[in-house]
């Protein structure tokens, strides 16, 4: 029998990433580039909402988009049609983006020429919640067909976001989605979250969302001046 020694490590698995995320936020401050991390389940409407958001804000901000699909560039092509800068990140099959990958993505985007960078994270409600990307604000989309019980099933995600968009409200009547009950569940987990009901299809609520984003970016920039 061989002799083994014990090597104590005592290291929080997320520490490394959290540190890199803080460094990235510092860097973004200096470069005056606001980074929004957008998360959701697959198909809840991230790309459609982004397209609308770009249309609403592209005259005010120089926007750059990072698409983090696991292995396709369909979304990047859709976004490219809006005329803003977009890059495809390769997550190598990973189910989330960490701060290091986000930083590389931003380098690819070239932050000097970007005021507002938006990251479309991998479609998934678990992993992205646990890895801080270094974003200034975190947004999440929950769509009506997914059900109003999602806050109960994925509490971490709902508790870390700054803003929640409840999308596809144009189809509310076909689903037993209780909007008020859902909002209440989310507020219980996260009293400070901003909740906006939208339809990326009809455009309902998108003005309020664009206003929130515009104000948040401006306030952040002024704070750093």
């Amino acid at each position: 029998m061989k002799d083994f020694k014990i090597l104590e490590i005592k290291q929080n698995v997320f520490d490394d990433n959290n540190r890199q995320a803080d460094e990235l936020r510092e860097q973004l401050k200096k470069e005056k580039t606001f980074l929004l991390n957008l998360m959701s389940s697959p198909g809840s409407g991230k790309t459609t909402t982004l397209t609308r958001t770009i249309q609403a804000l592209k005259d005010e901000f120089r926007i750059g988009i990072m698409e983090a699909d696991i292995d396709s560039d369909v979304d990047a092509k859709t976004i490219a049609e809006t005329g803003v800068k977009v890059i495809q990140l390769h997550t190598g099959g990973m189910c989330h983006l960490d701060a290091d990958m986000t930083k590389q993505g931003l380098e690819g985007l070239g932050t000097q020429e970007i005021d507002l960078a938006i990251l479309e994270n991998v479609g998934n409600l678990v992993c992205p919640a646990e890895f801080d990307t270094g974003a200034i604000k975190n947004a999440m989309i929950l769509s009506v067909p997914e059900g109003d019980d999602k806050p109960l099933k994925y509490p971490l995600m709902f508790s870390i976001v700054d803003v929640l968009l409840i999308n596809k409200i144009d189809v509310l009547e076909y689903f037993d989605f209780d909007l008020e009950a859902c909002k209440e569940r989310v507020k219980k987990l996260n009293p400070n979250v901003k909740i906006i009901a939208i339809s990326a299809r009809t455009g309902e609520g998108l003005e309020e969302w664009a206003d929130w984003l515009r104000t948040t970016v401006k306030e952040w920039k002024e704070k750093e001046d």
Binding site: F4, K5, L7, Q11, V13, D98, C127
Partner: protein, 113 residues
């Protein structure tokens, strides 16, 4: 596949420590996972062999210590398990508590040579 990407992250961190300490062979990796963490020990164990293939951890064993989700009752100071008691103090029925443990996700130590 949440657990798999997290395992890759762990392997990366252990490799760094091993290199720094001139470790040649790792027999066992010991993790501490809180009951409230989203990591499921059962899946971690299942995916472990795939995550360590071709790394310094190849052929090592994974051991997981589960840390209980304990709360301290703010009203009567009783310590109780939050999951078992569903967040309510078994002594005074209060729902207000301070979280003492259960959110950990730590690389505790390795047995190595």
């Amino acid at each position: 596949m949440h657990e798999l990407s997290v395992l890759f992250e762990i392997v990366k961190q252990v490799e760094l420590v091993a290199k720094k300490n001139e470790v040649e062979h790792i027999e066992t990796l010991i993790l501490q996972i809180g009951e409230l963490s989203s990591m499921i020990p059962h899946y971690m164990k299942k995916l472990y062999p795939a995550a360590i293939e071709g790394t310094i951890l190849a052929d090592s064993r994974l051991e997981i210590e589960v840390i209980p989700a304990n709360g301290l009752c703010k009203d009567c100071r009783q310590v109780f398990n939050l999951i078992k008691e569903k967040g309510t103090c078994p002594t005074c029925q209060s729902k207000s508590f301070e979280l003492l443990s259960g959110k950990e996700f730590m690389i505790k130590e390795i047995l190595c040579s």
